[in-house]
């Protein structure tokens, strides 16, 4: 006889409201069902009502952690439409901020993973190690998050030279601490006992489910947009794509930890080889046309599609966050595991729901019955109703 165990909609593991139901027998999970759609924000519709310049600020707010990734992908799409080439210095500056973002995102995940397996010390230490990265971001861009750094044609501000030496120093320290953490995690028998062989995603499944980023690389799928379709300064610096063959939680953790070391290498090389010159090429208008921009966000590939009709606003701006493709891989992963590991396996993709969720109202036949404007009207009516009745 199986029992239903709910995880969510509100749960200590989920930063955002989501609902997962597990069918369990004893402690063994038979199957899992994931119900998305609790934190939809109407980003795509909003993007169509703003100018290209404003759009960059908007997409930055899709995710508090991948804010550089989304805005870079959006500007890449705009530059793709206009055929705009950007100055070398801007390419390097963009790369530095993007990699710093990867550092703090991965460190945040390490802390969260520690929290999920009940290891509070790792949680606190991980987040403490993350702080200098945010300080570096603040020194470079002026903000800890939502950097307002990318704009069509380049970056928004130049960075004075005296900023770089402390950033280089903090990268060295960060790499040292990360190496310490890698040693501590790989030598702790209890952590290995919790992570090794748990939640295995085979290479075939990883490809079949279309997983991206560290989730795929942890299963031995050798993909990385930074190398495969290079952008920014990635083809001019020396780094390597990290893959692990096992596909279990440990493999994904190792991928993330080693990627942090690679990221510090990329940042240091970019700072050392930083070209002088312009930071922005002038963009007069985005012409009629379609463009795509995709980049390797910390969680996988972020994809942006923009269609322009020659006005100052996009007529369509489609965004896809990596979590959208990574979430379904939870089902093959969790089958046969215990409840204890269910939340850990879920967190292993580093899910980010509010970035993922889009909404469409369709009838059972699949026909669209309401567009974005109708949904906004419904939402307004609901608010009015609440105001009157509460």
């Amino acid at each position: 006889m199986s029992t239903t165990i709910p995880i969510g909609p509100f749960h200590p593991v989920l930063e955002e409201p989501e609902y997962i139901t597990l069918q369990v027998e004893g402690e063994t999970v038979l199957s899992a069902d994931i119900e998305l759609g609790r934190i939809h924000r109407g980003m795509e519709l909003l993007a169509e009502e703003k100018t290209f310049d404003q759009d960059v600020f908007l997409v930055e707010r899709i995710c508090g952690i991948c804010s550089a990734s989304h805005s870079w992908a959006a500007t890449l799409a705009m530059e793709d439409i206009g055929g705009i080439t950007i100055p070398d210095r801007a390419r390097y500056l963009r790369t530095i901020v993007h990699e710093l973002e990867r550092l703090h995102s991965h460190m945040l995940w390490v802390g969260l993973a520690g929290h999920i397996i009940g290891y509070w010390t790792v949680f606190m230490w991980g987040w403490k190690y993350r702080e200098p990265v945010l300080d570096a971001l603040e020194a470079i861009t002026g903000n800890r998050n939502n950097y307002a750094w990318y704009c069509p044609g380049g970056v928004r501000r130049d960075v004075p030279d005296e900023v770089w030496p402390p950033v280089l120093k903090s990268m060295d320290e960060f790499a040292e601490k990360t190496n310490l953490l890698i040693g501590a995690i790989l030598n702790d028998p209890v952590i290995l006992g919790r992570l090794k062989g748990v939640g295995i995603l085979t290479k075939e499944d990883a490809i079949a489910y279309g997983t991206l980023g560290p989730t795929a690389r942890g299963s031995g799928v050798d993909i990385d947009v930074r190398r495969d379709e290079s952008y920014g300064a990635y083809d001019e610096v020396d780094w390597k794509v990290i893959t692990q063959p096992d596909g279990d939680c440990l493999a994904v953790a190792v991928v993330r930890l080693l990627e942090m070391i690679e990221a510090t290498k990329i940042i240091k090389q970019c700072i050392k080889n930083l070209p002088k010159g312009e930071i922005r090429s002038e963009v007069r208008e985005i012409p009629r046309g379609e463009g795509i921009g995709h980049i390797e966000a910390p969680r996988g590939e972020s994809f942006h599609f923009i269609r322009s009709n020659g006005t100052n606003m996009p007529v369509r701006h489609k965004m896809r966050a990596p979590t959208f493709l990574n979430i379904p891989s939870y089902r093959p992963r969790v089958k046969g595991e215990t409840i204890s590991d269910a939340t850990l396996i879920f967190a292993v993709i580093d899910p980010c729901y509010s970035c993922t969720e889009r909404m469409a109202a369709v009838d059972p036949g699949g026909k669209r019955i309401a567009n974005g404007h109708d949904l906004i009207k419904l939402s307004h009516e609901k608010t009015e109703w609440l105001k009157k009745n509460l």
Binding site: G118, V190, R194, I339, T343
Partner: protein, 312 residues
């Protein structure tokens, strides 16, 4: 009549419920402060555990719709009372030497009551996460009781003449030095520390509560004063279990002169060991925990027992 009154007072006030609760909460503050230092945090002020419990006392008790009311509410009280009794027995034995035949067995028995209370309450609350927590707690109790009993009886074997009276064990230690001086009892003591970790449901054995898996599992449905009683019971266990180990293995509590300082040092050492284990291990899975207790821990306990029989 007067002696009955004295007994009731010693159960309710000193060294029973009230005293144990107050010292337990102070110990909990030490635990939180040391954990904070390990984790590079500041940690709460000294009155925080008291404030938490007082605030909970004033809150509404919500009883879930499908719950069995009586079982749900009585369960926390059972554990609370049992720990009060244990504390009273230990302190009276240490202070006045008032034991009775078999009080050691009584203490071991009473120390399982809180776990049973938690299982009862969790099962009565009709929450699926609670029942998973309850089943885990049950497995955990089954896992750690065997090595715990073997370890305690190692001390009993070591004492000559063999006795099941706590004051007998204390008298032997007063005459022949603490039991912790023997190899067999050191092994038994290590086993007991691990078991205490599980009895307190501290990491790595916080499996029944597991906030990131079961959202506090066994007491997810508790609120208000009922939750306060559970929190108090946990604080009291944090105080009583080290006192029990000191009594059995480490010469008991000396409450005069420099002995007071020595007693406090012994107590703080055990607390710090517990807190350090808590902060340097992640939570294990229930199957790993059961394997751990029935495997290596039981083996260590049995080795200790054999050494004790051989006279080490």
């Amino acid at each position: 009549m007067a002696s009955t009154l004295r007994l009731v007072l010693s159960f309710l006030i000193f060294p029973g419920l009230l005293f144990t609760a107050v010292i337990g909460l102070v110990t909990q503050w030490i635990d939180r402060k040391v954990s904070a230092l390990v984790q590079w945090r500041v940690g709460p002020p000294w009155y925080q555990p008291f404030a938490d419990v007082l605030k909970l006392m004033g809150k509404e008790i919500v009883i879930p719709a499908g719950a069995r009311r009586a079982g749900f509410l009585i369960a926390p009280m059972a554990g609370f009372a049992a720990i009060g009794v244990v504390s009273t027995m230990l302190w009276l034995t240490n202070m006045h030497g008032t034991g009775f035949v078999g009080d050691l067995i009584g203490v071991i028995y009473l120390l399982t009551i809180p776990s049973l209370g938690i299982i009862l309450g969790a099962s009565a609350s009709s929450n699926p996460l609670s029942s998973v927590g309850a089943s885990r707690e049950m497995k955990l109790v089954l896992a750690y009781e065997l090595p715990f009993v073997i370890a305690i009886f190692t001390a009993v074997t070591k004492v000559s003449p063999m006795t099941l009276r706590l004051d007998g064990i204390l008298e032997y230690q007063a005459a022949n030095g603490v039991l912790l001086g023997n190899a067999s009892c050191i092994l038994a003591f290590i086993v007991c520390i691990l078991v205490v970790q599980a009895k307190l449901t501290y990491p790595p054995f916080d499996i029944p509560e597991a906030d990131t898996e079961l959202m506090e599992g066994t007491h997810i449905e508790y609120s208000g004063a009922a939750l306060a009683v559970i929190k108090l019971q946990q604080a009291m266990m944090l105080f009583t279990l080290p006192i029990f180990l000191i009594t059995v293995f480490w010469g008991g509590l000396v409450l005069s002169g420099w002995g007071i300082l020595y007693t406090i040092v012994k107590y703080v050492i055990i607390i710090v060991i517990i807190v350090l284990i808590k902060n340097t291990t992640p939570r294990v899975r229930i199957d790993q925990a059961v394997r751990f207790f029935w495997g290596p821990v039981t083996v260590i306990a049995v080795v200790g027992m054999i050494l004790a029989i051989l006279g080490f």
